[in-house]
Amino acid sequence: MPLDPERVRAPLERFLAGALGREGCRIARMARLAGGTVQDNWYLEVQPGGPGAPVRLVLRTGRVVGTKESLPAEQEYAVLCAAARAGVRVPRPVAVCSDPAVIGRPFFLMDFVDGESRPWKLQRMPEVMAAGDAILEEIGAELARLQTVTPAGSEGLGFLKPPRDAAREQIADMRAYLDGHDHPHPAIEYALRWLERHAPAPGPVVLCHGDFRFGNVTIAGTRLTGILDWELTRWGDPYESLAWFCMRFFRFARPDLVAGGLGSRAALLRGWQKVSGRVADPEAIRYWDIMANTRWAVISLQQVGREVFGGENSLELALVGLATGEMELEALSLIARATVAQAKGRGVAEGAP
């Protein structure tokens, strides 16, 4: 259930006074923000007592019980703090509250970030689309900054368990899910088998947003203003997010623009390479593209599972299930293309024409 603003007003105003260190905080405005089937986001305009401009914040809390993968508010807050410390453009974390007496469940506060995040709106703004590649360079650069956070160098992220083998563990998880599912999925099995046979040697893992895509970034004017929605953060391969951002499903009305329906992958990679100092490996990108589509296909099955067992926005979740085939088909066609690319690669290595 969403929060009832009137019921939480008084305890929340007391909490805000402590969190902001300002006496007599009044909530001048509290409005629910659109989007999010798992999280509940509220815009707060807080007028501290005495002189001074109102403070604009976002209150974020789990809507019901989170899904298995999504982090509880306190952990998402810790991740947001780690990203902020690494210099990633995120809404500034303000305070976290684990005390259920305040609003009935844990929540955290962050600065409100100006800008638009809804893809269908952004894709209708000519100035945004004209600056697509420049925005993607910024996004790539932010991703590289985020990836400087590693298990060894992180503080307060002990609740995230680093995988020993990012690719193979994801494959095993997906298979375990399929084994408990009432429908067989031969196309997903085919993709998983391919992923297993072509899995890269395990490498170092980095902090991975978990849903790094168009829709989870805010853009104001033609500038990236923030990366949002950190509830699915985990440790992962550096290439996972580069692939996730380019998934066909998340290109919305512009499937022709590979990176998020916003611009070119080359631009995203340019930004990433400039900050990370790495040169992107095309084979790794092909591999994680296939992983991304396979993973999202399996997640879509899980989302329908959530719908079947009831909950809010059930029509929305049911319709996610209609998309499973899109990701399966994309994975199959990417595998076919990867096979051609590999054959060509071998040809070059062996000096064939």
Partner: protein
Amino acid sequence: MRDHPDTAHLLAAARRALLEQVVPGLEGEAQSTALMLARVFTVLAARHAADARARAALESGGESEELAALAGLLGKSPQAARRTAGGTDAAIASLSRRLAAEIRRGRFDPPGAGHDALLDFLVRITRAKVAENNPKVLEAMELSAGEET
């Protein structure tokens, strides 16, 4: 025999009414919900048409294409599979499960005719699913078949 309108007409009329008379008067979340409902009508119409085609094929003595292909891949007889499972849909489910397990075990790993027949089958059934659920996506995918990723 049912009177007119038939299912296809009913669904098309409901979708049109929703899009032309209801959606323009709504905003925000209510409007997105109405648009989702319109999509449900589209999917139901496509599924209804596909079911009718499959039924017609079976009635004219044909074999379900999907069952025949599955049986072929697994080296089984479609008739026997249907008898054992007690129906076409149950046989398709049972052979699909078997196929999924064989893929995982690596039976289709070696390059060659067996692998190619499997891939061809998977692309066909998946395309059919997408054609039912979101034909626009299928068109876009076809257009970009050679795209640089």
